[in-house]
C-alpha cells in the first residue's frame, strides 16, 4: 500500500491510467456505495471520518453534505478547481497525476447527495487539464463507471468540466456558481448557502479538489482509519504547498500534527542559501503572517493550533520568507494581487485595496513615514469586518499582521523576539 493518501502517484507510477487505478482497487468504493449503501450512509461515514474542507475554510465535509435541502431538487455537485490563491498548487498536481481518485471522489460525493450532474470548475489557465479530465471522464463512461444506470442501478451520473477565465474571486464558492451560470463572478449574499441555494438556485455541494480526493480511501478503509492518520483536532492528511525561500519547494502530503519545522527543513530542504527564516505565511497571500519563532516552527499543524498562533491553516499554502526580504515589499505584492482580483461589488474591498495599493507602493518606494504607515493601518482596519465576502477580509490580513508583527520593517521600534 502506498504511504500516501492523496499523492499516490508518487509511489504508484501511472495511477492516472484507468487500468492501473483499477488494479489499486479504484472505483470499488464508488461501486460499493452505489450498490450497497444508502446515500445517507455515505454521508455518515464522511462525517465520522472528521474530514474537513481543504479549500481553506475547513468546514466539516460530511456536515455540509447533510445540509442539502431534501425538498428541493435536482441537486448538484461542484468541484472547486479554481486554485488561484498565491502559493497554492496542490489541486493541479492531484488532477494531473491522480485524476481518477479525484473523479471517484466527486462521483461518491454526488451519489451521497443524490446529484446526477456534477461540474468541475477549473481556472481558465488549466484548459489542458480540463481536456485531460474530459478524456478521463470519457474513458470512465466507456467503462461503465460513469453515465446512465450505473452498476445496474437507477443511479446515473454525468460529470463535466467548466473553465473559468481568469478571476481569483471565482474560487469563492458563490462567485464560482455565478460564473458557472454564465455571469460575472461576483459573490452572492450568504445565507442562503449553496446546500440550500446553489447552482441554478438548487441545492449544491461545493468542495475542493483535495477534499474529494480523500473520499475514495475513506470509503475503502473506513472513517476510523482516516481519523487515526491525523490528530484529535484535525483528522487525516493534508497536502501542503510549500513555496518561497526554500530549497525544495513543492507539494508535501503530511499527516496533521506534523510541524512547520518538519515541512520546511526536512521536506523543503531548509532555507535558500541557508539564510535565516523570518516569516511564514500559512495560507498563501491571504495569510495572517507569522513570525517564524521556534514556538511557531514547533507548533503541530492543525486547524486549532494555527488559529491559536493568530493565523489560519487555510488551504495549506505555506510561503516562506527569509531574512533578506522586507515585509513592506511582501504586502506591496499581496495588495497588488488583491487590488487586481477584487471583484468590485462591495465598496470597502474595491476602494480600500486601491488605496492600500497606493500606500504600500509609496511606503515600499521609501516613504516610510509614520504618517503613511498609520494611514495604511487605518485603511486596512476600516476595511476589516465590512466586506461582502472573504476576499476583502483576506486582503487586510497581511497588512495588519506585518505592521503589528514586523514593526522594524516599517521603521518602527522592533519588538523583542520572544513576543513573536
Amino acid at each position: 500500500m502506498s504511504k500516501y493518501v492523496l499523492l499516490r502517484h508518487r509511489d504508484i507510477p501511472n495511477i492516472k491510467d484507468l487500468k492501473v487505478y483499477q488494479d489499486q482497487d479504484g472505483f470499488k468504493a464508488f461501486k460499493k456505495a452505489v450498490t450497497s449503501l444508502d446515500q445517507g450512509e455515505v454521508t455518515e461515514i464522511v462525517k465520522a471520518s472528521g474530514l474537513r474542507g481543504r479549500g481553506g475554510a475547513g468546514f466539516p465535509t460530511g456536515l455540509k453534505w447533510s445540509f442539502m435541502d431534501q425538498d428541493n431538487w435536482p441537486h448538484y455537485v461542484v468541484a472547486n478547481a479554481d486554485e488561484s490563491e498565491p502559493g497554492t498548487f496542490k489541486d493541479r498536481e492531484i488532477i494531473e497525476e491522480n485524476p481518477l481518485q479525484f473523479l471517484e471522489g466527486v462521483a461518491i460525493g454526488s451519489y451521497a447527495v443524490g446529484a446526477q450532474l456534477a461540474y468541475i470548475y477549473l481556472r481558465g489557465e488549466f484548459w489542458q487539464l480540463a481536456e485531460f479530465l474530459d478524456g478521463k471522464i470519457n474513458e470512465l463512461e466507456k467503462a461503465g463507471l460513469l453515465g446512465e444506470n450505473l452498476f445496474g442501478t437507477e443511479y446515473s451520473l454525468k460529470i463535466h468540466t467548466h473553465l473559468g477565465a481568469g478571476a481569483y474571486i471565482c474560487g469563492e464558492e458563490t462567485a464560482l456558481l455565478e460564473s458557472l451560470e454564465g455571469k460575472r463572478g461576483q459573490p452572492r449574499l450568504r445565507p442562503p448557502f449553496p446546500p440550500s441555494f446553489g447552482l441554478y438556485g438548487k441545492p449544491t455541494v461545493v468542495n475542493n479538489v483535495e477534499t474529494f480526493t480523500n473520499i475514495p480511501l475513506i470509503m475503502e478503509n473506513g472513517a476510523e482509519w482516516y481519523r487515526d492518520l491525523g490528530t484529535e483536532d484535525s483528522a487525516g492528511v493534508k497536502v501542503f504547498s510549500l513555496s518561497g525561500r526554500v530549497k525544495k519547494p513543492g507539494n508535501y502530503e503530511l499527516p496533521f500534527g506534523s510541524t512547520y519545522r518538519e515541512l520546511i527543513f526536512e521536506h523543503g530542504g531548509g532555507i535558500l542559501n541557508d539564510a535565516q527564516i523570518k516569516a511564514i505565511m500559512p495560507a498563501g497571500a491571504s495569510s495572517a503572517i507569522l513570525r517564524a519563532s521556534d514556538k511557531v516552527l514547533d507548533t503541530p499543524l492543525e486547524y486549532a493550533s494555527i488559529r491559536k498562533l493568530g493565523s489560519d491553516l487555510g488551504s495549506g499554502s505555506v510561503i516562506v520568507i527569509d531574512e533578506t526580504i522586507s515585509m513592506d515589499w511582501v504586502i506591496k505584492k499581496t495588495i497588488d494581487f488583491f487590488k487586481h482580483e477584487s471583484c468590485g461589488k462591495c465598496t470597502p474591498c474595491r476602494e480600500g485595496n486601491y488605496w492600500m495599493s497606493y500606500l504600500t507602493r509609496k511606503i515600499h518606494s521609501g516613504e516610510k513615514t509614520e504618517e503613511q504607515i498609520q494611514l495604511l493601518y487605518d485603511v486596512a482596519s476600516n476595511i476589516q469586518g465590512k466586506c461582502l465576502c472573504a476576499l476583502g477580509e483576506f486582503s487586510v490580513m497581511g497588512v495588519l499582521t506585518s505592521i503589528d508583527r514586523f514593526p522594524e520593517d516599517f521603521g518602527r521600534e522592533p519588538i523583542g523576539s520572544d513576543k513573536g
Binding site: E83, S84, E85, P86, G87, T88, F89, D91, R92, L117, R123, G124, E125, F126, W127, Q128, H160, H162, L163, G164, A165, G166, A167, Y168, S179, L180, E181, G182, K183, R184, G185, Y200, S241, L242, S243, G244, R245, P249, G250, N251, A285, S317, I319, I321, I325, V330, K333, T334, F337, H340, E341, C343
Partner: protein, 173 residues
C-alpha cells in the same frame, strides 16, 4: 449569418450538451473561448452571435469579456507571454527574469516586440509557485505553461516561433 455557428457547429453542440437545456446561459464562457480561439481576441460581432445562440442580450455577453482577464477585446501580439510575478514567484527571482527577458527583446513589460510576435506582460499567480520563474503563453493554440525558465531558454523558444511563423507565412503564400 452566424459565423460562429457555421464555423464550429459540432463544438457548439458539445458545449451546449453540458448544461441543462433551460440553463443555456452557462455556455457563454465556453463560447467566448471558442470565439477567441482563432484570433486571440473577441470581435464585437461574436458578442451578438453568442447572444443569438444563447438567447441572451449582447450586453450580458460583453460584461463577461470585461470581467474575466483571459478574454481579450483587442488585438495583441501573436504570442502573449505572461510572466507570473506574484509573491511566490517573485520570491524566487521571477521579477529579474522578467526584466532580463524584456531587455533582451528590447521592450518594456506590457509591450509587443517589434515584429508583433510576442507581447510580454506580468500576470498574477498561476498555481505554479514551486517552479518559478514561469510563464504562460496565450497563443493560437490556447494556453501553455512554461516552468523553471531562464532568459536563454525562453529566447530560444521565441526564436523557434519566429522560424515556424515565417515558414507558415511561406506556406500561405
Amino acid at each position: 449569418m452566424n459565423d460562429l455557428l457555421s464555423k464550429y457547429p459540432e463544438e457548439i453542440k458539445t458545449i451546449l450538451a453540458k448544461y441543462p437545456s433551460e440553463q443555456k446561459r452557462s455556455a457563454v464562457m465556453p463560447l467566448l473561448f471558442l470565439a477567441q480561439r482563432k484570433e486571440g481576441y473577441i470581435r464585437e460581432q461574436a458578442l451578438s452571435e453568442i447572444s443569438q445562440i444563447l438567447d441572451i442580450q449582447e450586453t450580458e455577453v460583453a460584461t463577461l469579456v470585461g470581467f474575466y482577464t483571459l478574454f481579450h477585446d483587442g488585438k495583441t501580439g501573436i504570442y502573449h507571454i505572461q510572466v507570473c510575478t506574484d509573491l511566490c514567484c517573485a520570491l524566487r527571482g521571477s521579477e529579474d527574469f522578467l526584466t532580463g527577458l524584456c531587455e533582451a527583446l528590447e521592450i518594456k513589460p506590457g509591450e509587443t516586440s517589434q515584429d508583433g510576435m510576442v507581447t510580454v506582460e506580468e500576470v498574477k499567480c498561476l498555481a505554479a509557485c514551486d517552479k518559478a520563474p514561469m510563464f504562460q503563453v496565450q497563443g493560437k493554440d490556447g494556453i501553455s505553461y512554461h516552468e523553471n525558465c531562464n532568459v536563454d531558454n525562453t529566447l530560444e523558444m521565441i526564436q523557434e516561433w519566429r522560424e515556424s511563423g515565417a515558414a507558415e507565412q511561406e506556406e500561405t503564400k
